[in-house]
């Protein structure tokens, strides 16, 4: 319990640090959202209109610390303001309509990559020098060396356009009403395959090799030899003794991995026109849409921190040693 509390304290500090960073960064950016919008709106506005717009959007001229206090207050009361680029939609609404897709994409990719990668790693380490061990790692590392977006574009054109095996855009067929029907879920699944696959392909090699290496290290632990000496069945030794211990570092990486996957998903979303927050963030940044940007960053960070916290709790469940600590 102490461990959990300690971690919780850490996450709170991390959260505070990131929201502060998030507050400060955009305020040091040159220009303001209105002139930025103006730059892109083909010179149609009059100076007075711009002033009016400034007022309308509430571009803040108060001292920074006042804004900061306000901001902190808002963050903890869940008020993230109104998006500037999507004015007058509240930031929460913009995010809530999209974050789900990002989480679905990122989460699916992460889980699949971690599970499959770890399984492959376990098998590779268990059968040292076998087919999986010698053939897969170089291939996966090579694929993993490609940038996310490159692989995504390649896959999109090859499997989506040329071969036509998979849908090439969006999270589900346009016009379908989201519902908990098999049809809809299947449709979402079909749309998820390619984007998730590209993320999985890029990240799976790391999982596999990481697991393989820890597993090899674990295999030479005394308790594995002991398990062998006990005459246990090989499958049991592999899973209950070796893999069970070797997966502990993977569990930690899993939490960390989420942050990276959100990043990878961001690029992938742009390529597949996946309606997640990735492109929205880019847009918000380019439009200097502070509230949205802050809201997104906050949400992503909170999601990552929360996930890490959950992973920590899981870790405590998996590793009895930290429990009593």
């Amino acid at each position: 319990m102490r461990f959990i509390l300690r971690r919780l304290g850490f996450y709170l500090i991390a959260f505070w640090a990131s929201i502060t960073l998030n507050f400060l960064l955009p305020r040091f950016m040159p220009g303001d959202p209105v002139s930025r919008m103006f730059a892109r709106s083909q010179d149609r506005m009059q100076p007075e209109q711009i002033e009016a717009l400034r007022k309308l959007l509430g571009v803040d001229d108060r001292p920074i610390w006042e804004q900061y206090i306000d901001y902190m207050h808002n963050v903890f009361t869940g008020q993230m303001g109104v998006s500037i680029s999507r004015f007058p939609t509240p930031v929460t609404e913009v995010i809530s309509s999209q974050i789900g897709w990002t989480l679905l994409l990122g989460g699916t990719a992460l889980v699949v990559a971690a599970v499959v990668g770890n399984l492959l790693g376990i098998l590779a380490a268990w059968r040292r020098g076998g087919a999986i061990d010698s053939a897969l790692p170089p291939v996966l590392v090579f694929i993993g060396s490609f940038p996310y977006f490159w692989l995504a574009m390649g896959a999109l054109y090859l499997f989506g356009v040329v071969l036509g095996w998979f849908p090439i855009r969006h999270a589900f067929t346009d016009g379908l009403e989201p519902a908990f029907t098999w049809e809809f879920i299947g449709d979402v699944g079909a749309h998820l395959v390619l984007p998730a696959l590209t993320i999985v392909l890029v990240s799976i090699g790391g999982w596999m090799l990481g697991m393989r290496n820890t597993m090899i290290a674990t295999n030479s632990e005394d308790y594995i030899t002991m398990a062998e000496a006990k005459g246990l069945r090989p499958g049991r030794i592999m899973l209950r003794y070796a893999a069970r211990n070797a997966m502990l570092p993977s569990v930690t990486s899993f939490g960390m991995g989420l942050g990276f996957v959100v990043g990878g998903a961001l690029l992938t979303e742009v390529v597949f026109a996946y309606p997640g927050v990735g492109y929205q963030l880019l847009n918000a940044v380019q439009g200097l849409d502070y509230p949205l940007m802050q809201g997104l960053f906050l949400t992503i960070t909170a999601a990552v921190l929360l996930a890490n916290f959950l992973v920590d709790i899981l870790y405590v469940r998996l590793d009895p040693r930290v429990r009593s600590n």
Partner: protein, 312 residues
């Protein structure tokens, strides 16, 4: 037969510095060799680019969207630039950014890691907190925000990548430094009266050579990949020629849509090759320092199968 009772000075069997055997191990490792060969080719290309393709590589020199031919080995872009020239010149910025990011992040990582591990207590708590916070912040979103906030240019890209990339290396290096810190030879150095700086850099650091190298390589890979990602999103310095920018332009010009794969493939492949080569070296470093990871020769089928080892 009799036993020889010998009194002799121990004749060291291998009079080799441990570091030298590490390098030797690398040189005799196939993965490392392949990786290094690829890297050398790329570095040579980067250095020779101005000689091979003099002048501005983004100059418009030919008809647009030419397929690869004898004249333009990799064809031309939709603007009529020579793809090969762009690719070769692109290696300069990409490798430069990768190396700078790698070296800078590793350097910060070393400082933070060593200071954390050596001084411990409050300094360690504070530094690891900062490290962990940076580690948890979602990298790319932060990159995107940072990149938009600073004026464009390679310097910015490097700075941004270092800001988001140092934490990973610091964490790895800290844990390694911590384990070395707890070794008796550090305590022995303290007892013999060495000062903190000397202990950190002369006693602890030399024992981290392989992990420093591994971290460096990983950071370089990160740098190259993240630069490409940023530039692809148009957040890099669009006016430089680099692999990421080449891909950005390829995307802009609809290279894939028009079927101009030759514009799209080379830069991506180069990124992958460099990253792959570095990853190979990295795995080789792992293998050399941790012999258990080495590829094992599949045991020959000897008649007494029982002899080999414990059956699994």
């Amino acid at each position: 037969m009799t036993t020889a009772l010998l009194k002799q000075p121990t004749q060291p069997t291998a009079v080799r510095k441990p570091n030298r055997s590490f390098i030797h191990g690398l040189i005799s490792n196939k993965k490392a060799l392949t990786g290094m060969a690829v890297m050398i080719i790329f570095i040579a290309l980067a250095l020779l680019a101005p000689l091979l393709f003099p002048g501005d590589p983004s100059r418009i020199t030919a008809m647009a969207s030419l397929e690869p031919s004898a004249e333009h080995w990799l064809g031309t872009t939709a603007k009529g630039q020579d793809v090969l020239a762009l690719t070769v010149h692109g290696s300069r910025s990409s490798l430069f950014v990768g190396l700078s990011v790698g070296i800078a992040s590793t350097f910060i990582g070393i400082l933070v890691g060593l200071a954390s591990a050596y001084f411990g207590k409050f300094i360690d708590e504070a530094l690891s907190l900062v490290t962990n916070v940076f580690l948890l912040l979602p990298g790319l979103p932060l990159l995107v925000i940072l990149a938009a906030f600073l004026p464009p240019g390679l310097g910015t890209v490097i700075l941004v990548l270092v800001v988001t990339g140092w934490a990973g290396s610091a964490r790895v290096l800290r844990s390694q430094a911590l384990s070395i810190r707890s070794k008796d030879f550090v305590a022995a150095a303290v007892v013999s009266g060495e000062r903190a700086g000397r202990i950190m850099f002369r006693e602890i650091l030399p024992n981290m050579a392989s992990i420093v190298m591994g971290t460096l390589l990983a950071c370089v890979i990160y740098g190259i990949g993240a630069q490409a990602g940023l530039e692809f999103l148009g957040l890099g310095d669009v006016s430089t020629v680099s692999w990421g920018n080449n891909l950005f332009w390829a995307g802009n010009e609809g290279a894939l849509l028009t079927g101009s794969w030759w514009v799209f493939v080379p830069s991506g492949l180069c990124i992958a090759l460099v990253a792959f080569a570095l990853a190979l070296i990295n795995y080789a470093v792992d293998e050399v320092t941790n012999p258990r990871l080495r590829k094992i020769k599949t045991p020959k089928t000897t008649p007494t199968k029982a002899e080999t080892s414990a059956a699994k």
